[in-house]
Symmetry: C2
Subunit: 436 residues, 2 copies
């Protein structure tokens, strides 16, 4: 690989570092890493670098979406405003049951495209047909943490086959695509996996030395059922099964009591807060201010597009900044900078990559986005962090780089064929609806 070097000249950089959150100046990237950021001219470091004007742009770390099911974008708007079980059983599951490799490929590509165009550079995906998702990640230039989510409500031989598939996926893909792809093991949820099966999955994660991901405490009904079935609430239950003995990331975590929050903090379990999905499915509102106060790493996830129905992390950042104020009655809850951390620094921490991404800092990977600043919603120039949280949208993103490579340029995907993806996703949907 020949060395590439580029220099952003004269831009505003929201670095997300504690020392210097906003830098007006310059940034230099060599290959996949940031080698300079500062107010001063980069001097010798800029030699031989191709120049990019930072004028009219604000740069920040790429956003990190820590929970989703990319292929579910094929079901966006297919069924809304329904009761969860009805929605799943009569609408979503029958459709998903017919998903082929091709459906997962094009659905995931549609999601990758939407995420890229709205400033997400890294995402977590838990689904089936995961080889297809991995191919999309490889081709799109994005970063992802992928996992074959397994549901254990099936005979033992089927359980075993699914587990083997999940293990094979880790073995095949972990660290691939220049390290852009990492993997995890995932029991789908405590209510869809018998305890013994969860223990097998945890053991496999130990053996493979990868983290764990699961859905947890999304609805009140699910927590009650866990108590009925296993005599304990999901957090205690999963803890007993050893899930938190490894690095782990739980999605939703809406219904938690104080003891559970304390335990998650003690075990270092990260949470993916899925605000829009939890609101839309009427699951409730996670106790984010309390989680943060307890020292739990809280990050943001969109969940699948069927229950959101978009994949714009800027929307999730704004929601996180707004709803917890309204619900707690405390206007200082989740202030703007903290909300922005949820989508960047804490997102990186939630996927164990805080040394690589989530901040613009020398030595970090160049995963970065640039937004158009010359728009009315960003005037006057008061507080750029406030503007990014309360007034920005993924549609304001003009350029995206991942691992030092530009993957979105002037709002167009560089490595993905936008027209083809939209057309193929439409075709998949049409075929699926004729089938059911």
């Amino acid at each position: 690989m020949t060395m590439t070097k580029w220099w952003i000249e004269g831009g505003i950089f929201v670095t997300m570092t504690p020392q210097e959150p906003v830098v007006k100046g310059h940034l230099v990237v060599e290959n996949d890493r940031i080698v300079y950021i500062g107010a001063e001219h980069p001097g010798k470091l800029a030699e031989g670098a191709s120049r990019i004007s930072g004028s009219g742009l604000v740069f920040m770390p790429g956003l990190i979406n820590t929970h989703g099911h990319a292929a579910m974008s094929l079901l966006r708007g297919y069924a809304d405003d329904m009761v969860l079980q009805d929605w799943l059983q009569t609408k979503i599951w029958p459709m998903e049951g017919n998903f082929t490799d091709q459906d997962v490929y094009w659905g995931s590509a549609l999601s990758a495209l939407e995420m890229l165009k709205s400033g997400t550079t890294a995402f977590v995906d838990m689904y089936d047909h995961m080889n297809e998702v991995a191919k999309v990640v490889e081709q799109s230039g994005m970063r992802a943490v992928l996992t074959r989510g397994v549901i254990g409500l099936c005979p033992e031989d089927v359980q075993r086959a699914k587990l083997e598939e999940a293990v094979r996926f880790v073995q095949e893909w972990n660290g691939k695509a220049d390290g852009r792809i990492m993997t995890m093991m995932s029991p789908h949820a405590p209510y869809t996996c018998p305890p013994a099966y969860i223990e097998q999955i945890v053991q496999a994660a130990h053996d493979l030395d990868v983290p764990l991901h699961t859905h947890m405490s999304e609805t009140a009904a699910e927590v009650e059922q866990n108590v009925r079935d296993y005599g304990s609430r999901p957090v205690e239950h999963l803890d007993k099964l050893g899930l938190f003995s490894r690095p782990s990331l739980v999605a939703h975590a809406v219904h938690l009591n104080d003891d559970e929050i304390a335990l998650l903090a003690e075990r270092g379990v990260a949470v993916s807060h899925n605000a829009a999905s939890n609101l839309k499915l009427a699951s409730g509102i996670a106790r984010v201010p309390e989680l943060l106060k307890a020292g739990v790493t809280v990050s943001l996830g969109t969940d699948g597009a069927a229950s959101n129905n978009n994949l714009d992390i800027f929307d999730e950042i704004r929601l996180a900044a707004l709803i917890h104020k309204g619900v707690t009655g405390d206007p200082t809850a989740v202030p703007a900078l903290e909300a922005l951390r949820l989508g960047t620094v804490y997102g990186a921490r939630a996927i164990w990559q805080q040394d690589q991404i989530g901040m613009l800092q020398v030595g970090m990977k160049a995963d970065m986005i640039a937004l158009d600043l010359d728009q009315p919603q960003f005037y006057p120039r008061t507080d750029i962090v406030s503007h990014l949280v309360y007034a920005a949208s993924g549609r304001d993103v003009r350029h995206v780089w991942v691992n030092g490579v530009q993957v979105l340029k002037d709002r167009k995907a560089v490595l993905l064929d936008e027209e083809k993806i939209m057309a193929e996703a439409q075709r998949c949907y049409e075929r699926l609806t004729n089938k059911v």
Copy 2:
């Protein structure tokens, strides 16, 4: 005026009419009104019309923002995440006290630009220096309902002068700009206007035959104070003072009991639901599902940009569709179509213009927007109403027409100077911050 006639050929029209919510076909406008909409070719009606291709676009009625203070965009991001009284007293009011005509003009222009570019065609504005706001409306081509909001915490002669100014504003501007400007009378709020002053304002509205607008029951503290000061909650208090004896629109209405909801329904009082502002200032969450069930007209407002911090009604539509599900635990609360009505049909009703705007129907004014549909967040083509509510943003708006005139073309304002407005708003802000 020479006749203008244009024909949108082959588009998707979200009409918002009960009979036919979505039409794939054609729309013809003659001067300021829709003269044809239907699946069939318009035949003779299209003769002499200039053609506009509807390909790749979805058309819908322009959005209606029923509560705001446009000039406050000058304070966007100036102070966030603070306790309301502290925010007002130490930050907002000292700055507003120094606002000149020029500040109000450029601040309002900045807001008009942001609203236009995000698909709002009509807005309600309550502020001071209202001649400047009216000039902006006149020049921008937008539709507005304007009112000089008066605060009565001052000597009687000052009260009288303010009231006279408000009356003069109505006399000068009501029905101006080809009828695009309508006016109201507005006591700022029950807690900022003594009862006798409110009665004078109501009498003036009677004399002028215009509607009334006020802030009401935004915070729990304000409701308690009303009970302490006047022995009744704000709804009963305002009802006794005659405010609801005329067409009236109240902003916020967050803290209401069942009796108050019933009374608002009985009196035909419309509500402007300001979801983002109420969340951001931690005021609470209005009982929108109950208000709708009781038959109250609920519409959407952004409030000022200092407490939002953007003016995108698509954001408010999505918030309204999401938060009430999450808070009530009912995933069928405020379904997508109802959420879209809040920003269109019900918005028109809330400003007493339901016979003119809010739907795409023959005989209605051509206040219409077109969004770019060929984007990943709008695939697959399942339910266009769902996509507009859960996946759209004001940034997706490509064209806007008001009163039959195109005011936004290919994302650029036709009648406003975008660069100049942003630069002047910045200058106003800089001067104001040097002053305080």
